[in-house]
């Protein structure tokens, strides 16, 4: 019974805090994914552009952020951001250390990482748009923005859903690393609960189970989105 009390919602239970941590994990992952979508779109268009310099820059971005451990990127952004803020504070006459908010640092770090993966997802999705449709759009006089909005964008979004599902799962698990900056997300909350009750096994199992719930629920959401996005496609294409 003591176990149930510990993870329950009573005055001595950690249930509410753990759920709050799970919510924080979802929030920080969602913000990170949005940041990553911006970075990803920019990098993908750089890589797809014919310009050699832009292409190289895009390749450097994806190589670096997929090749360096996530933990190091989080450290670099958290401490780098903090020292930047501290030096800005100094120029305004504030003495002492100013920390970067851990939510912002974490979301930015995970976002930059997911941007590298999203760039590849977007690039692949763009390449999957049939050349014939682009030609047809040009043939009836669509140009630039209109062609992008009506022909490219809807299809890229549809082709990108499975890849985005993978990136979301990756980011959800990467977000556990933000706990090193002290953000009270699911990992950090489980750690604090485990440490203060000395019930390490229990709280890490409960925390892990909550992550499993999050990942399997989001799997369903992405499957649903995929079905919905493909609802007009013939089922013979294996996308029923």
């Amino acid at each position: 019974m003591a176990t149930l009390q510990l993870i329950g919602f009573g005055s001595t239970g950690w249930g509410a805090l753990l759920l709050l941590g799970a919510l924080m994990t979802l929030c920080v992952t969602a913000v990170a994914l949005a940041i990553g979508a911006v970075f990803g779109a920019i990098v993908a268009s750089a890589k797809l552009s014919g310009n050699l310099i832009l292409k190289t820059l895009g390749n450097v971005y994806t190589t670096v952020f997929r090749g360096v451990p996530e933990l190091l990127i989080i450290y670099l952004i958290y401490f780098g951001g903090s020292s930047a803020i501290t030096s800005i504070g100094k120029s305004f006459g504030y003495e002492g250390f100013l920390g970067m908010p851990s939510f912002a640092a974490g979301a930015l770090a995970v976002g930059i990482i997911s941007g590298a993966y999203q760039a590849e997802v977007f690039r692949g999705a763009y390449l999957a748009v049939s050349k014939g449709e682009l030609e047809a759009a040009s043939a009836i006089g669509m140009h630039g923005a209109l062609r992008f909005r009506r022909i490219i964008m809807p299809q890229v979004l549809r082709f990108a859903i499975p890849g985005m599902g993978n990136v979301w799962q990756l980011s959800l698990k990467d977000s556990a690393l933000i706990s090193v900056t002290g953000l009270a997300e699911l990992m950090r909350t489980s750690q604090v609960a485990a440490g203060s009750t000395r019930q390490y096994f229990l709280f890490f199992v409960v925390g892990g189970a909550l992550y499993l719930i999050l990942t399997s629920l989001s799997d369903r959401v992405f499957n649903g989105a995929e079905r919905r996005a493909n609802r007009s496609m013939p089922s013979a294409m294996g996308q029923a």
Binding site: T63, V64, R66, G67, V68, P69, E70, L71, L72, I73, Y75, L76, F79, G80, S83, L172, K173, D174, S175, A176, L177, S179, V180, M187, S190, Q191, A194, R198, Q199, Y200, F201, F204, V205, G207, G208, A209, Y211, L212, T215, S216
Partner: protein
């Protein structure tokens, strides 16, 4: 730029490289063997084994590696039968815990990659092998495994690079690999950015080497797919 400091940092970090590489190779090797066992259970046809394998893959792919590592490092010590059991001298070592959790985690991902490779083997190739009298282990060794491995190699390369990056997490359970030593250096020197950037460079170079090596292996294994030089034709 303080090049003397950067060089000194690089040298100190490189001293931790053997630990990082040991974590990496041990967990890849153990994880690979475990993955083969899981795939065997997953595709074997026995419903109980299949369910166990599916559950394993779900749990280890669905939760963050960090929580698995903490569960093993902090959680196992809570049980008397482990604490006073025969394996305790091993399990109380942070390095062993790190390797164990890295291997258990990668086994889940690797099993799915290998399963994809096996599914890509054409049934006709298996039929052909059977028709010349191959079966069981010989069939697996000569036909199934090589073709499946070749199909799985690109995805497996990605997993191997992910593993190299994951070894950085071992620093959080007090293993002094590259990231851990970088943190220790920072606590002495307070030069965060320089030290972390040096560490990042080491990982980038390692991953570059790994990808090159795997690319070579892939090239080597796909000899049959490359065009035959004109001089050799007919």
């Amino acid at each position: 730029m303080d090049f003397a400091f950067l060089a000194q940092t690089m040298l100190t970090l490189l001293e931790a490289l053997p630990t990082t590489l040991a974590l990496f190779f041990l967990s890849i090797a153990i994880g690979g063997v475990l993955a083969i066992l899981i795939v065997w259970m997953r595709v074997g046809g026995n419903p109980v084994f299949t369910a166990i394998a599916k559950g394993y893959i779900f749990v280890f792919r669905g939760s963050p590696l960090l929580i698995q590592m903490f569960l093993i490092f902090y959680g196992l010590a809570q049980f008397g039968f482990i604490r006073y059991g025969p394996l305790w001298p091993l399990l109380r070592e942070p390095f062993v815990c790190a390797v164990l959790s890295l291997a258990l985690c990668t086994a889940g991902y690797t099993a799915e990659i290998f399963r994809g490779g096996i599914r890509a083997v054409s049934p006709r190739e298996i039929e052909a092998a059977r028709s010349v009298g191959m079966s069981g282990f010989l069939l697996m060794r000569r036909v199934l495994a090589p073709i499946a491995f070749r199909h799985a190699l690109p995805a497996y390369s990605t997993e191997i690079v992910l593993m190299m990056k994951s070894t950085a997490l071992a620093s959080l359970v007090t293993v002094w690999e590259v990231t851990g030593v970088a943190q220790r250096l920072i606590s002495h020197t307070y030069r965060t950015m320089e030290v972390f950037l040096c560490a990042a460079a080491i990982y980038l170079i390692l991953n570059f080497i790994i990808l090159q090596a795997l690319g070579l292996l892939e090239y080597h294994l796909s000899r049959h797919r490359r065009a035959v030089p004109a001089a050799l034709k007919a």
